[in-house]
């Protein structure tokens, strides 16, 4: 053995001791109910969910009294930076070492699909609120995944139909190059074609691309009537801005396939008026939603998005089911949730279907003109309600083996 081996051993020993500071195999939490949320905090989808989502979950915990049958409820949160591996690793770590009882999925479909696999392996409930891909309840369905708020099929049936009905027959898609964009483009294309329209072409852009000019030029060259923006958050905002800058809006109409109230707030009513969008919830719909919205506004100085309201609802319903069954066993709680109709500020008469889809009403809305808006954040007119099952995947279309 030469001199170099001392350091080897010291090194390994030291490293091992050092790593003792790292996660330790824990017992399943007996005394605390832990809800975790992994979402995009600082990136392109940061405003839609982010810390606001965490806050919404805290509100749900507070509304349940802070404890269920004597057990305290805790929220864990983490940022996934829009990376599926970060999300999956964090979820696994929480399940293994923190005794996580329930995971809420934030924005970004790629991360949601990854986390769904982990949750299914660990046999724990995974309530997806922020992500859109319909695959979560279709070919990727699982008995442990519940898709709570909205999905790409609903967006297609809502906005897609509306735009085609209003005369937009030829479409060109600008698509975010990952699971969500692909799913959205596919679902909207189906609707467009079924309504007699045509898809002229498409181009993919990287997630959080900085410069959309060259993609927009390609779109313009296609001579399609409608530019379908199969992206969201910051990407949609930048697409709209660039489209205005390059005069694309003079020859094409922009269809925002996934738009949140934060995006409208960012762009302003002047730029976005008349745009159709489909959403699962709007703060200014009823007295109840207004009250909840203002509660959120007090803490956050911003009106909640539908995703944040969805976070609240998912956490609330989960805790109710835990209380009713007096257990944090995943299968029992999920069974209870499937039996119970959902009536809260987020949804009325909602229920969880066999494929994991939480079925509830969706709303087709149109952005108000500046003169129609009465107060800040008063941005939408509700044009049509897609009631219950009408908004979602039908049994005929589904590939989910759980729903046959």
């Amino acid at each position: 053995m030469n001199l170099k081996k001392i350091p080897t051993a010291c090194a390994l020993a030291a490293a091992a001791l050092f790593t003792a500071a790292t996660p330790v195999q824990a017992q399943i939490s007996g005394d605390v109910i832990k809800i975790g949320i992994i979402t995009d905090m600082a990136g392109v989808y940061g405003d839609i969910d982010g810390m606001g989502g965490v806050e919404a979950i805290r509100m749900a915990i507070a509304d349940m009294g802070g404890a269920i049958n004597g057990k305290k409820v805790e929220v864990l949160y983490a940022e996934h930076q829009n990376k599926a591996d970060v999300a999956a690793a964090k979820a696994r770590e929480w399940f293994d070492t923190q005794g996580l009882d329930m995971l809420i999925g934030g924005t970004n479909s790629g991360t949601a699909l990854a986390m769904a696999k982990v949750a299914s392996e660990k046999k724990k409930p995974f309530l997806v609120v922020g992500a859109a891909s319909s695959a979560l309840t279709n070919d990727q369905c699982s008995p442990y995944t519940v898709h709570w708020a909205y999905d790409t099929v609903a967006l297609a049936k809502g906005t897609g139909s509306a735009v085609v009905k209003a005369g937009g027959k030829t479409w060109y898609f600008l698509t975010a190059d990952y699971a969500f964009g692909a799913a959205l483009q596919a679902d909207v294309s189906t609707v467009v074609k079924a309504a007699g329209g045509t898809v002229v072409g498409s181009v993919k852009h990287p997630l959080s691309a900085s410069d959309f000019s060259s993609f927009l030029l390609q779109a313009q060259a296609s001579k399609a009537q409608i530019l379908g923006m199969a992206n969201a958050g910051g990407d949609t905002i930048n697409t709209i801005k660039a489209a205005n800058e390059f005069g694309i809006t003079k020859t094409m109409k922009l269809a925002g396939l996934l738009v949140f109230i934060n995006d409208i707030h960012s762009l302003g009513l002047k730029t976005t008026q008349g745009m159709y969008l489909t959403d699962s919830w709007y703060w200014n719909q009823s007295a109840e939603t207004r009250a909840w919205g203002r509660r959120f506004f007090e803490k956050f100085k911003r009106m909640p998005s539908s995703v944040q309201a969805g976070d609240y609802s998912a956490a609330l319903q989960y805790l109710k089911a835990v209380k009713a069954t007096n257990s944090d066993d995943a299968d029992k709680v999920l069974e209870q949730m499937r039996k119970t109709p959902i009536n809260d500020v987020f949804a009325k008469g909602g229920f969880i279907r066999a494929d994991g889809r939480m079925v509830h009403d969706m709303y087709l809305m149109q952005v108000k003109a500046p003169e129609q808006s009465n107060e800040p954040w008063d941005y939408y007119n509700v044009v049509e309600t897609l009631k219950g099952e009408a908004a979602w995947t039908t049994k005929a279309d589904t590939k989910c083996p759980l729903w046959k």
Binding site: N2, L3, P7, A9, A15, A21, V24, S109, A179
Partner: protein
């Protein structure tokens, strides 16, 4: 006399370290974390073979790690291969890509070599970004662990941990063997004074190319194992920021030492794990700061400094 005592405590410490690693799952260390760290330790050792022992800075080493990660993931998940074949395939592929890159890059020296490897790695990265089988931004998910050699089920974290540990020890010993072999001596000569090695008649390019391919193949092995452990392969595995991290692991631990990269890997992975929840984006800042400090004041790394201190002490005692 000194060296005998030192050698004895070295052996003791060596066994102690191995014992800790062997007992890890039972003394409360999270197996997934340990396996991840071991994979990166393999990666860092592979990298160190190239930089520390041959003197070539490859600044795009993540390309090979990521390539093997993806290929193994796809073979095991979609083509249904058993894990050991998947890992071997990944390793071989990484080596082949390394061969291709090496053939282009090896003509240049020093800093040019580094920049070329970086740019080539970027090219490979973009290929992975576009290729449908990788899943792009979503990554390649749901890679099953399968059964090793047809009879060892890897689903249990503890079982897989010992497999990973075995691979790590094998790679480590292999590298020690290579460095101490006559081939390794030539590499050392090339690192210290390439023109002289050339004048002595060695086909320097061939030696460097072989080192490069070995290093990339082993980096691929690390990537393949990581895919099995975590069950997915994503773009992060091929991104140039990972290339930078592995340089730091080797540098921090000690270039040209055996334990250095292992220590460096555990430190960086441990740091990232520990800090990620607490300080968010500051992890990047801290990694960057460690880089700066290492380059300016700590170039020999932990193990290098320890060795130097020992030698100084040895000299004083004499």
């Amino acid at each position: 006399m000194q060296s005998a005592a030192l050698a004895r405590s070295a052996r003791l410490a060596w066994w102690a370290g191995l014992a800790v690693l062997a007992a890890a799952p039972f003394i409360g260390l999270y197996p997934i974390f340990m396996m991840n760290a071991l994979c990166f330790a393999i990666f860092a050792c592979a990298f160190n073979l190239l930089l520390g022992f041959t003197g070539l800075l490859s600044f795009g080493h993540a390309a090979y790690f990521g390539a093997a990660a993806y290929v193994t993931g796809w073979l095991v998940r979609t083509a249904g291969w058993s894990p050991e074949l998947g890992v071997i395939a990944g390793t071989v592929l990484a080596g082949l890509i390394g061969l291709a890159v090496g053939l282009i890059a090896i003509r240049r020296q020093g800093i040019y070599f580094a920049m070329i490897t970086l740019a080539m790695a970027q090219m490979v990265y973009f290929v992975w970004l576009q290729a449908p089988f990788t899943g792009g931004e979503d990554g390649l998910q749901g890679v099953p662990r399968g059964t090793l050699f047809g009879f060892i089920p890897l689903a249990s974290d503890v079982t897989l941990y010992y497999v990973v540990l075995a691979v790590f020890v094998a790679v480590f010993l292999f590298i020690v063997r290579v460095v101490h072999s006559p081939y390794g001596q030539v590499l050392k000569a090339i690192r210290e004074n390439e023109p002289r090695a050339v004048s002595l008649g060695y086909d320097v390019d061939r030696y460097k190319l072989l080192a490069f391919v070995l290093s990339t193949a082993l980096a691929g092995l690390a990537g393949s194992m990581k895919t099995l452990v975590l069950g997915f392969a994503t773009l992060s595995d091929a991104h140039w920021s990972l290339s930078g991290e592995v340089v730091l692991m080797a540098l921090l631990g000690g270039l040209g030492t055996f334990a250095g990269p292992v220590l460096g890997a555990f430190t960086i992975i441990g740091l990232q794990n520990f800090l990620a929840d607490r300080v968010g984006a500051w992890v990047t800042v801290i990694i960057g700061a460690i880089f700066v400090v290492c380059v300016v004041a700590f170039r020999r790394g932990f193990v290098g400094e320890l060795l130097a201190w020992q030698q100084r002490r040895g000299k004083q005692a004499d």
